[in-house]
Amino acid sequence: MAKVAREMVERAGVNVDQLLELLVKNAAAELTTYYYYTILRVNLIGLDGEGIKEIAEVARIEDRNHFEALVPRIYELGGKLPNCMKEFHDTSACPPANLPKGPRDIKAMLQTLVEAERCAVRGYTHICNLTAGKDHRTYDLALAILNEEIEHESWFSEFLGEGPSGHFMRHGETSPFVSKFLK
């Protein structure tokens, strides 16, 4: 644990235990999403599915990166991950992104994907709001993740016909915002 780092955050008025619970819940959301997106990606097939497979894969890998980036901050602040994987799954900040009943229903798949991203956008916005000007390191991390989650949301939203995302998909390395926390 980074004792003084935690103390600074506490002195700034942040309820660190509550923040840790949120960080663990969001770490659970990232890792479980990585798992559920694996199943979704496998089922994105055919003429319509293949077009979405690559962005689903990028979102999947970046969500795993988010999990990896969150874990050190949890331990720095004196928190820990649950020993039990099932408990960890059930504590997730977002509902499971289950494969729709009609796994060839591409629109239903996209709805599942976009809802998962929207849940994440809400969650990291909330963490940013709680830590802004108080816990600079957690804020920086949550903001980096938020940037990527917003891009994921806009990609899937575009495929649903809700309007242009405004940018291209990734070329080359993943996690342009979060990668600095992974080095």
């Binding site: 977002c94 509902p95 499971p96 809400r122 916005t125």
Partner: protein, 82 residues
């Protein structure tokens, strides 16, 4: 519509198998089955069994997330409905 007092609402805190109800805008909603309200707590900050009208103002979502749950009744205080 069923009338629910604050005392009655407090007993539906979602713990130890009890139902999880929340108050919002003078109405009471049943969030028992929600993945995001397991154990009667939402996002580590919001507890079931209470009127969350004020807390929702700071939430990163709107009232539509509350209104999608089944409504149990109308929340009343000593002086009448809230």
């Amino acid at each position: 519509m069923r009338e629910i007092t604050l005392d009655e609402l407090r007993t539906a805190d979602g713990r130890e198998g009890r139902p999880a109800w929340i108050g919002y805008g003078g109405r009471v909603y049943d969030v028992t089955g929600s993945f995001l309200w397991k154990g009667g707590v939402h996002e580590a900050r919001h507890a079931a069994g209470r009127d969350l009208t004020a807390e929702l103002e700071d939430a990163p979502h709107g009232v539509e997330f509350v209104e999608r749950f089944p409504m149990v009744g109308r929340l009343i205080t000593k002086g009448g409905s809230t």
